[in-house]
């Protein structure tokens, strides 16, 4: 979590108008971002068309395949080998993309929307509201992210939905801080002062002037947060706090039991792991590209 937060600090908070077009041009020329988009596009396609791509049902067992020991590695019939229950690992990884994407998006949405509201309130209202909200955020940040998430899962019980919430909650403070900083910077801007002087209501100023201009760092942050969310969810799954049904082809959960078979079937650990690395890498590349594209500091350098 802190990586993202730190990198967010580098983002300059004032995108001048007309920047979007320019940013897009720059993004198109950024090879890293292109690779990132490619990976994420592939990831999304795989997630959506999983039933078409996967050769078999990810839950279909074939115990006769593992009679000679756990577990046969990659072969012509089973491209990624089979797991400890004779299930096709390739199909499982393909379906796993659905879970990772879903979990990532939902948890970031949770973190982003709550963070957005808290950050806006703190930044715009200021005073005691600001102090209370930001101290609370400080406290949340002083508990290492994974521990906080584990604590929340302990409270809610293990499960897919619960880890989405837990990971989402750990992301709230980052978004809240980002929004608050952004709003503080915008508040003193000329166009805000102008709007205020002609009597535009506060809520409208916030909605139509401040938020839109604060949004670009949020987009960057959101992309990077997707990457962290996928890693954190996999970590919780690895610790056995993931979906209650162990047959669920979630990547982190798939990794959980594999240390037991590491000597005889290392592919069971490597394949879902590499899938996680790829998808996280995709979001990180896009996030980096977006930041460079949106950050005036980088203009002209690329």
């Amino acid at each position: 979590m802190s990586v993202v937060e730190l990198e967010a600090r580098e983002i300059t908070l004032e995108p001048p108008s007309g920047l979007w077009n320019e940013a897009w041009q720059r993004l198109r020329r950024n090879p890293g971002a292109i690779v990132g988009f490619g990976i994420v596009f592939a990831f999304v396609v795989v997630a959506i068309f999983a039933p078409v791509i996967a050769p078999s049902d990810p839950r279909a067992q074939n115990l006769s395949l593992i009679r000679e020991g756990c577990c046969p590695g990659p072969s012509a019939d089973y491209w990624f080998g089979v797991d400890a229950l004779g299930r096709d690992e390739f199909s499982r990884v393909v379906y796993g993309a659905r879970y990772s994407l879903l979990i990532g998006v939902v948890s970031v949405t949770v973190g982003l929307s709550v963070g957005l509201v808290l950050g806006s309130l703190a930044g715009y209202l200021g005073g005691i509201v600001d102090t209370v909200i930001m101290r609370l955020m400080d406290i949340m940040l002083s508990i290492p992210g994974l521990l906080l998430a584990i604590g929340i899962v302990a409270m809610l019980g293990p499960g897919l939905f619960q880890i989405m919430i837990a990971v989402g909650v750990t992301q709230i403070p980052i978004f809240a801080r980002l929004l608050r900083g952004s709003i503080l910077a915008q508040r003193e801007n000329d166009f805000v002062l102008a709007a205020r002087s002609v009597g535009v209501p506060r809520r409208q100023i916030l909605a139509s002037h401040i938020l839109p201009n604060a949004i670009s760092p949020v987009i960057v942050q959101g992309t990077l947060a997707l990457a962290t969310a996928i890693i954190d969810v996999a970590g919780l799954g690895f610790l056995g706090l993931g979906p209650q049904d162990p047959a669920t082809p979630e990547w982190g959960t798939m990794l959980t039991g594999t240390t037991r078979y590491l000597q005889t079937a290392p592919h069971l650990a490597i394949i879902p792991g590499v899938a996680i690395v790829f998808s996280v890498l995709g979001f990180n590349l896009i996030g980096d590209g977006l930041r460079e594209a949106l950050d005036p500091k980088f203009r002209g350098r690329a």
Binding site: V3, R135, L281
Partner: protein, 334 residues
């Protein structure tokens, strides 16, 4: 400077208070309440009532909290419900293990990450620069437990170069006065134990240190690139100061500012990562201690452990802020 430090220390108080309230309320928010959670599936209304009476859980929450604060400020964190030993005593054993691991990981990431980022920036746009960029990108994209499993598989299982689990081999007999095993080996003057503990430390430290390494390399590179174009660097160059001196005196020193901040931020990541790394390498530290405690609903340990870790995290960040102020002559705190 002193006022700044005092102010920062005072700011710690609301954070610690808030933290203790949060952890306190968290335990009361567990499904079925603490008594039932403690008893697990064998809970009956009678045993729950007995436990609630025994721990004063039938009193109003503010009263309970006040009593909790009173005992904690006396340094009494209760006994582990599993081992029946005082939590503080267990902490003294587990904490050095995690610190040893975290320090080793941090050293690894700094010693490799800073030079990597520095040379990447100096050779901006070169193959080396790209290679290090890509490597560090992959570095921040790898889940730490996956890296740990892979390292263990290659270097411990397949190649057999390094031990797979634990902190020291069983046949090596050495006293542990400090519980920092490397230090203990040095104190005992036991060369064999020293080498053995280092060997046990290598894989977990690399696994845990790789993400900070990637981040540090990236930040160093960015910082050096920024500083390189600053006026004072150009001036120095124009004045004919030798490139090595410019590097050392101006670029490196100023680039250290963002790097020092990151060390503080990485501490949180290290502590999170330690939970997973320790699990993979069966490292008897705070991470495995807490995960086991959560599994076993060992509340005194959870309560104290989360509090201890957060205090460490907050203190490290304070130290970083102070050193930041010390390094950076341009910043004056009022």
């Amino acid at each position: 400077m002193l006022r700044f430090v005092v102010r920062r220390l005072l700011l710690l108080i609301p954070i610690l208070l808030g933290l203790s309230i949060l952890v306190f309320l968290w335990i009361r928010a567990l499904p079925g309440g603490p008594a039932e959670a403690l008893l697990g599936e064998r809970a009956t209304p009678e045993t729950v009532a007995a436990i609630e009476r025994q721990y004063g859980l039938d009193e109003p929450v503010p009263v309970q909290y006040w009593r909790y604060v009173k005992t904690v400020t006396r340094g009494d964190f209760g006994d582990s419900t599993v081992s029946r030993r005082p939590v503080v005593e267990e902490f003294k054993q587990k904490f050095p293990a995690t610190v040893e691991l975290a320090v080793a990981a941090m050293l690894f990431s700094l010693l490799v990450g800073i030079p990597l980022g520095f040379f990447a920036a100096k050779k901006y746009g070169s193959f080396f620069d790209h290679a290090s960029l890509v490597a560090s990108l992959i570095g921040i994209s790898i889940p730490v437990f996956f890296l740990a499993i892979i390292l263990k598989y290659i270097f411990a299982v397949k190649l057999g170069w390094l031990p797979t689990v634990g902190r020291i081999s069983v046949l090596i007999d050495v006293d542990h006065p400090t519980n920092f095993y490397v230090l203990d080996a040095i104190l005992a003057g036991n060369w064999e134990a020293f080498v053995d503990t280092l060997k046990h430390l290598v894989l977990p430290a690399i696994a845990l240190g790789s993400i900070p390494l990637a981040v540090i390399a990236r930040i160093t590179r960015a910082a050096v690139l920024d500083v390189q174009n600053e006026d004072y660097v150009r001036t120095a160059r124009a004045k004919g100061v030798s490139p090595a001196t410019v590097d050392r005196r101006h670029i490196f020193r100023n680039a250290m500012l963002p790097i020092s901040t990151i060390i503080g931020l990485q501490t949180g990541l290290l502590l999170s990562g330690a939970v997973l790394t320790e699990t993979v390498f069966a490292w008897p530290g705070i991470g495995t201690w807490l995960v086991d405690a959560i599994d076993a609903r060992n509340f005194p340990v959870i309560q104290a452990g989360v509090l201890f870790i957060s205090i460490v995290f907050v203190l490290v960040n304070l130290l970083v802020d102070i050193s930041y102020a010390l390094i950076n002559p341009r910043i004056r705190y009022s």
